[in-house]
């Protein structure tokens, strides 16, 4: 806004706009890798949330996820994948796994594909929306957050399948299921951190997105998706995963709360012969705290790295 030129005008230093996106007096000075003031940055970001949402809907429309079969594919794809892994585990273990295992597998796979989908989409978005970056000044962090929003919108319909199998598997339905909400929030922030980090890296190394699928494949195998938390804990060699893999607390808590744990007559589930019944496993507070820590740290590192680099994007695209 132009300042009123009446009475006693305020010197521009005091009317100084806090970020390059707000009105007032803007001062642009050299800053290659510095951080802007975060409070006004995030305030401007929040003020433009509708822009991110509109951009996300555009993206989904372009990917045909707004159509019926587009939505169906989002459910069918991980469902088929879960079937593949079920058969794989059947073959390797030499005997058929029950419905419970399928329910566990689905809950883990769906949320894992939410994380990797958000991450891979986010890694491409800065390069993809180069036109916007070259022509508009806005908080660039909106772009990876848009990808995460798209991932959430794609994930939500798949919950219906999870609920169906939850009931089919005979896992008791208790109030504990509400813990899934804070766990999901942790996972969303964790994913946003990853998406931001890889979005910035992708600007400098355009082939990054070609490596990511292999990386996520390995990550899937060391996460409590095919294995259960109990199995991983049981194997001494895998015990370190609890500390090394952020998905151990995040996904572990999710699958345990969602699918519960089978009680066996002998041995450790699910490699025991006969499952007696499925018992609920309350939320692990230890995992909840560890997941929170991972979410905060990964989001902070990813977002701050991205923000520190975002002014460089316009010359790199």
């Amino acid at each position: 806004m132009t300042a009123p030129s009446s009475a006693a005008p305020v010197p521009p230093q005091e009317r100084r706009a806090e970020t390059e996106f707000s009105s007032g007096v803007h001062v642009y000075e050299p800053h290659r890798a510095g951080l802007p003031k975060l409070k006004p940055y995030f305030r401007e970001l929040w003020a433009r949330r509708h822009f991110a949402i509109t951009l996300a809907h555009t993206d989904m429309r372009a990917a045909h996820t707004a159509t019926f079969f587009g939505q169906m594919w989002l459910i069918i794809n991980p469902l088929l994948l879960a079937l593949v892994y079920l058969l794989l585990v059947d073959v390797i273990s030499g005997r058929p796994q029950g419905l419970w295992y399928f329910s566990h597998l689905l809950s883990g796979l769906f949320i894992f594909y939410f994380i990797s989908g958000g991450m891979i989409q986010g890694s491409n978005i800065v390069v993809q929306e180069g036109g916007l970056i070259m022509n508009q000044a806005f908080p660039r962090l909106l772009l990876p957050l848009t990808s995460v929003y798209v991932a959430v919108r794609r994930f939500l319909p798949t919950l219906s399948i999870l609920i169906v199998f939850h009931f089919l598997s005979g896992t008791p339905t208790t109030i504990d299921l509400f813990w899934l909400i804070p766990i999901f929030v942790e996972i969303v922030f964790f994913t946003a951190g990853l998406a931001s980090f890889f979005a910035a890296v992708q600007v400098y190394f355009r082939d990054m997105s070609q490596f990511l699928p292999y990386f996520t494949r390995i990550w899937l195998y060391v996460s409590p998706v095919i294995f259960t938390v109990a199995q991983i804990k049981h194997k001494a060699k895998l015990a370190q995963l609890e500390w090394l893999n952020p998905l151990m607390p995040l996904l572990g808590n999710w699958t345990q709360v969602f699918a519960g744990e089978p009680v066996c007559r002998t041995g450790v589930a699910p490699s025991c012969k006969t499952i007696d019944h499925i018992q609920t496993v309350g939320v692990s507070y230890h995992y909840l705290a560890a997941g929170f820590a991972w979410a905060v740290v990964v989001f902070a590192i990813g977002a701050l790295y991205y923000i520190s680099r975002e002014r460089d994007f316009a010359v790199r695209l």
Binding site: G24, Y28, T54, A62, G131, V315
Partner: protein
Amino acid sequence: MPSVFEDDLAISCQNVSITYRTTFEKIPTFKSAIVRLGRGERIVRLVPAVKDLSFDLYHGNVLGIIGANGAGKSTLLRALAGILPPTEGRILVNGKVSTLLSLGVGFDRRLTGRQNITLGGLASGLSRPEIKERAEKIIDFAELPEGFIDMPMRTYSAGMGGRLAFSVAVHLEPDILLIDEALSAGDAKFKEKAAAKMAELCGQARTIVLVSHGLGAILEMCNDAIWMDKGKLMMRGDPDDVADAYTDFLGVSRTARSTMEDV
């Protein structure tokens, strides 16, 4: 009174230099970084796009920036918009900026004109009701052929896209409007209309910076001009004088100037 003086100031560039770091490779990849590392090479080229540029501009003016390709005009405009940070010096911009940079980009070609108006408005920080209120004015001003506003923008001609982009930029009610070559696509009638709209904005004490390598638009619309060459400020002053000096420099006759748009 220095404080009143500062209030009228729209843009102040103080010893601004902008240097890009680019690599020779068109697409930077991890693979090529490793290959380079293996060979012990380090191919980073510094491109000094703007060199030690200083000028002040007051509200209510239309400033034209002329210069040959690669003079740093567009880079300077991006810096004024806050998209590129300067490498050295300081830029002061007083007011809300609206940009109309290289034609059509910033618009998503998959979306309809109407959806693009919404997206553009949201990105610049307007609320949905504010955009709704302005959408009709924007559409009226752009004068697209019947029905095109609800068609994807990939079906638009270059001129139609340019008209819509111009219409959006001027209706965002900016204090400072930055325009890069945007008017080259419109036909004579729309150019006249655009010029009238820009004059109206200036009458409201707004400021326009117009970049063009064609002299026609600069001479018609600007009351102030800057000539840039290879990143340096060569001359500042009355558009006619600046255009004369520029055409002399290029070795093009003065008469040719009026007939050739792309001098």
